[in-house]
Amino acid sequence: MAGTSPSSTSSRPAVETRQLGRVYKSRKDVVVALQGIDLSVKQGELFGVLGPNGAGKTTLIKILVTLLLPTSGQAWVDGLDVVKDYRALRHRISMVSGGENAGYGLLRVREQLWLFSQLYGMSSAAARRRIDELLERLGLAEVGNRTIAGLSSGMRQKMSLVRGLMTDPRVIFLDEPTVALDVGAARDVRNEVRRWMGEDPTRTVILTTHYMQEADELCDRVAIVNRGEVIAHGTPQALKQQVDEDVIVDLQLEPGRPLLDALRAIEGVGAASAREEDGIDRFSLLLADDAVLPRVLTTVEGSGRRVTGLVRRQPTLEDAFVKLVGRSLHEEDSSGDGA
């Protein structure tokens, strides 16, 4: 359990899981969505859960917010058991999911938020103040009196964030809060999350994301989840150190025959990922040392493809991810099982 501090310090962990697992059974098949998850998140931490599609991120969040029962193991949020103490726990948490266009379309933004605050037992006046303040900060003050149906999906997503933050939960769970947002809106969301945490140093955020850079910049600590298991966790810095020894090379090629598997087969290539941008194939390679590079270039030439660019660069969280998982976040899982 490198990277986690013992929970004997004055404050209890905000989130703790022990051998947490979840299996989905249906008539047709059995999906192991999570298994053996051991996590400990400190109060005041902004903790990221990073993983490809189908990794089990949403399942983890659903269990922690008491929407879903685990099928094995245990979990505590703010010291409360998510299975036994679920009613008490609901007073102390909230959840926001990105990319779902939630909201009662006929209501006005302020009206819906206020109605919601009342389901949380907030005093009406305090709720109105808080809502105005948060709308203002997220740049939604002008649309506060518009009906929700008239909002863009990005505005709706920000409104959902206001709903999550306004009740001042001890722990807030954000499931891909910036998915499908434009750059500016995503930045507003990230800034607001940071600022909200700053208001009280014991507030905790658990956030899932697809975006490496977001995790790297925003999160104090990150867990990388793949096919239901935590395969690494630590600060983004510590995770990047996993690839410190490696030589990281970005290679640009003109389009041609598929090459990824051939590159991965070369001895000394720790991991390789590819993506296409503007008709150019970009490969990222993790090499054991500089001596591997000539072998790579020989393979590329052998395949008849032309190199248009080659740079050596600093490791990113993405590189650590690729090394650990064996593929990039955006690449389909080709091994068949799981997602």
Binding site: Y24, K62, V65, T66, L67, L68, L69, R87, R90, H91, I93, S94, M95, S97, E100, N101, A102, G103, Y104, G105, L106, L107, E111, L115, F116, Q118, L119, Y120, G121, R163
Partner: protein
Amino acid sequence: MGLAIVRGWQGYWVAVRLGWAISSNWTRPFLFIVYSILRPISMALILAVMYTVITHNSAAARPYLAFLIIGTAFWSFIQEGVSEFATGILEDRGRYHMLKYTYLAPLGFPVFLVGRASSKLASASASVVIVLLVGTFALGLPINPLTIDYPLLVLACLLAFVAIMAFSITLSMVLLAGRDSHGYGEIMAQFLYLFSGAIFPISLLPGPLAWLASLSPLGYWLELCRRAILHGRVYEMFPQLSDGEVLARLVAAVAGTVVLGYFTYLLSDRMARRRGYIDMESSW
């Protein structure tokens, strides 16, 4: 404790307001006219016409005609209450994507759903009044607003509403497991229609069903409504029972339904969390 009750009450009213704002027929004139006026009136008229044709409109048949019309009129409570409950679950999940958030709110999900369904009481009451007016003027029922026993009527209807909500909660598992938002409420309401003595006395049901129906509060409620409105001039399902005895049975049956609703809710809530129903998307 006291504060919790105050907060719970506020939350309930907010849910009423929400139901009112987003799905009350009352606020949407077209839907209101179709669902709360035209539908109950046509239901009542179809039954009335069939019945008067069969009985050649004889004077002896009048008490039973009154039975039919009052039963059908008050049926709106069940129709709208159960449907709105179903809508509260299925539309909030499938259409508004809000169910998981309202479900997780500390207010408590049943209180929220009951609040939303309560928003239909006004339009349901309006449709009762309209059908009774039609009954009085078009079908010549001897209803006189000045001789109605209002306290008995209101008490019976409040109790019935509690029972309808408890019954809906009992069925919430079926709703949560359901994938689309159409039909469930209607089907449940139709099912209750047969069991509640709305159009025929429950004693006409086959043995075991009659026994089941005698445990349900709905028959006693409709009986009290009929007596409160047309005492002595309406066919009675329980002629051997006094008003007080029918009321006592209503209270007992409502209490039973509430207990049943409570325990089935605990079970279905757990099952919903085990199976992940609360935020199930139709794609699953």
